[in-house]
Symmetry: C2
Subunit: 230 residues, 2 copies
DNA sequence: GTCTATAGAATGATAGAC
DNA sequence: GTCTATCATTCTATAGAC
């Protein structure tokens, strides 16, 4: 299942000679594709892959259903494009977690970024969650390669902190899972959180408060030295 | 939405005079219903409401599809029954969090129970997560009534601990969210966790380790006095 | 490049024989 | 109480006019 689906990054053929008309068409295509991708992200996150219909996505993007199939041949190809997009955002954020920082800096920054993503890309987070809960039928290969490697490298870094006495001896893996789960909870369970907030989305200051609480509890929880996050 | 759906606990009419045959039929019905409910829980958790087909559920339960419709008139009624079941389990576990215990006792016990549920009822946890991510189309009333009341009462208890100096001043609401998210993560993202565990489910000792880490970090994170969880 | 109309397949639910 | 056969609906995807 991992290798038999080619990602078509550009269907604009390089064999087409008319550059002028080509770039114009490319502009239209790019704009429409973006509209469709944005609509699809919302619909997939709200109804899941099976619950989403191409009709809903087409309506959300403001194009006829047949037009959608012109840009994305199948529903599955569209879904894969969105998953790829999300995974890319996750990985970019994860880069901040680098070996040169001390634990407080590294973890504070990582938690901040993950909370920001939960606020700016809640749909993506939910699609990811949905995909995992269904056994990752589409992205299993990502889990087994990229995610596993990233996870192991971060575990090594955390273990290094423990060995140098910078944080308490906790299981690095479960510390990572805690950070993932708590930060993504604010995206995945946003509806529940909003309902318990009187039916309103969290305000900017409420988001800030959530973020501070998460950082405080986790950093204090692992005995990180020199805690100064305010 | 809260009161217009009667739960049919027993469709065996009390006007039926033949007691012997009646209880026999009730036994068959109960057994079949249980088979169907168990199969449905698995299928709904794996594919979501829309992705699940009555055919899959019927196959999983070992009954013909038409037979399934004999016991549960519609797919939606079957789904509601399962959601009710899950919500009931959550609430029961939540009772352990009572006012008389000290923070360490209360929170340790609560986290233990939530972790146990994640291991014993992962399907239920995922169905709940799925339902919330889709905007709680079926259980919105539960969120606005029972869950809100329970949450507010626990927030008051935690605030009491803070006022008495038993734990650090954290936002009780976000502490609850942290406990929910971390514990449920081990059910909702079990596939990801298993993949990162070499493709194998966590062993009993690995579950114990996860539970201890969660308790340690959270209790230390809120400065709970007298931490003694091992 | 856009859109109407529709083909083809899958699904929820039911009828009716046993 | 069980099960085969089938209806009615819905959905993905495509054909073909503009």
């Amino acid at each position: 299942m991992s290798g038999n689906e080619t990602i078509q990054k550009s269907t604009i053929s390089s064999t087409e000679p008319d550059i002028q008309s080509n770039s114009l068409k490319a502009g239209i295509r790019q704009k429409k594709e973006l509209q469709i991708l944005e609509a699809a992200e919302k619909v997939f996150s709200e109804f899941g892959y099976h619950g989403a219909t191409t009709q809903m996505i087409a309506d959300g993007a403001g194009v006829p259903k047949a037009n959608l199939h012109y840009y994305f041949p199948t529903k599955l190809v569209l879904y894969r494009r969105i998953i790829d997009q999300i995974f890319s955002i996750w990985l970019d954020a994860a880069q901040s977690f680098d070996e040169n920082s001390d634990p407080v800096q590294a973890l504070s920054s990582y938690i901040d970024k993950k909370m920001q993503i939960s606020r700016s890309h809640p749909h993506g987070s939910r699609i990811w969650a949905n995909e995992i809960m269904q056994g990752a039928p589409i992205i299993q290969d990502y889990l087994e390669t990229t995610l596993r490697e990233w996870t192991n490298s971060r575990i090594a870094i955390i273990q290094g902190w423990i060995d140098r006495g910078l944080i308490d001896p906790v299981d690095p893996r479960h510390l990572l899972y805690m950070i993932w789960s708590v930060t993504q909870h604010y995206a995945d369970f946003a509806h529940q959180i909003d309902t318990l907030n009187g039916g309103k989305p969290l305000s900017t200051s409420q988001w800030g408060n959530a973020c501070e609480n998460v950082k405080k509890i986790i950093l204090a929880g692992i005995g990180a030295k020199g805690v100064d996050i305010k």
